[in-house]
Symmetry: C2
């Protein structure tokens, strides 16, 4: 119901057509949702089928036909319900690429470090990019703060892991020189 909540929330601020919604999401919320454009159109149909929004064909001047959606009373109810549900529970984020860490011992230490450093670089870059993004207004800034917090924590943790790995002695092999 994440995506539904998003669409309902946006429509709450005024009637919009699909293209507008997609545009807004792409410009402002790309970092926190991966909703695709096609999906949004399909979703709007479903919201309509549920009676949460109504649609009205419109055409401004000679521009292509638009389908403008507005929230219904039932839609506002649904929004309120979904929002409360969403805010009141905690769902841990799914890490995209964690399990690799479980098998890091399968690589020579040198290479493991090289890879982790590359990972850290990618992370750091993402963070920098994010930090230089312009401030948003109101609660949207909360989302950005959250993401920033997440990225910073990840970076710090990863740095620690690398440091720990670097300082650990290479396991001695039989026959290696020993002081």
């Amino acid at each position: 119901m994440e995506r539904e909540l998003l669409l309902l929330g946006l429509l709450r601020q005024g009637a919009m057509h699909g293209y507008q919604l997609n545009d807004f999401i792409e410009r402002n919320l790309a970092f926190c949702t991966d909703l695709k454009k096609s999906t949004a159109y399909v979703l709007l149909d479903k919201l309509q089928a549920r009676g949460w929004v109504t649609m009205q064909e419109a055409r401004a001047g000679n521009r292509p036909h638009k389908r403008v959606y507005s929230l219904t009373a039932a839609g506002e109810d649904a929004f309120q319900r979904l929002l409360r549900e969403n805010l009141g529970e905690f769902v841990a984020a799914k890490t995209g690429s964690d399990i690799g860490l479980a098998f890091i011992d399968a690589l020579p230490k040198r290479e493991a470090l090289r890879l982790l450093n590359r990972r850290r670089a990618a992370l750091a870059e993402q963070l920098t990019e994010f930090e230089s993004a312009p401030q948003h207004q109101g609660s949207y800034q909360l989302l950005i703060d959250h993401q920033l917090n997440y990225l910073r924590c990840e970076l710090e943790w990863l740095s620690q892991v690398i440091a720990r790995m670097q300082s650990r002695r290479v396991p001695l092999r039989r026959g290696s020189a020993r002081a």
Copy 2:
């Protein structure tokens, strides 16, 4: 390729049948993957079709037939490739329930706080549960550390958000008493 990497990595430590794999995952890795049992069986078929594992029917005593899978050389190659790919890149985790925050202003402050406190409680509980889990060995502990780090960061951030929201004055309405 996350799931494939996981299965290959486990099979690398020795031949296993599906039930064993599922069991291990459920007991030890439930927090970092949501691989379902049925999916695992299907996946093993696919790994076999790709030549990454071989299967051998076995039966111990009168127990039900088992299909024991072992890694092939091609499977080891695939594992090495997938592991490097996985470790070398950073993929931000997908937050399960973030967008609600963008619309938190839609609720009266009181209720918003009540919900966020509930969210924090759920988070704190998850963290406690996790902290009391037994230590794992080797790199698996890395996964647990990662999750712990994540949960702690989330908890701290959420607490800050709540604190900020609490200390902010309620917006005055027209006609409210003013000092």
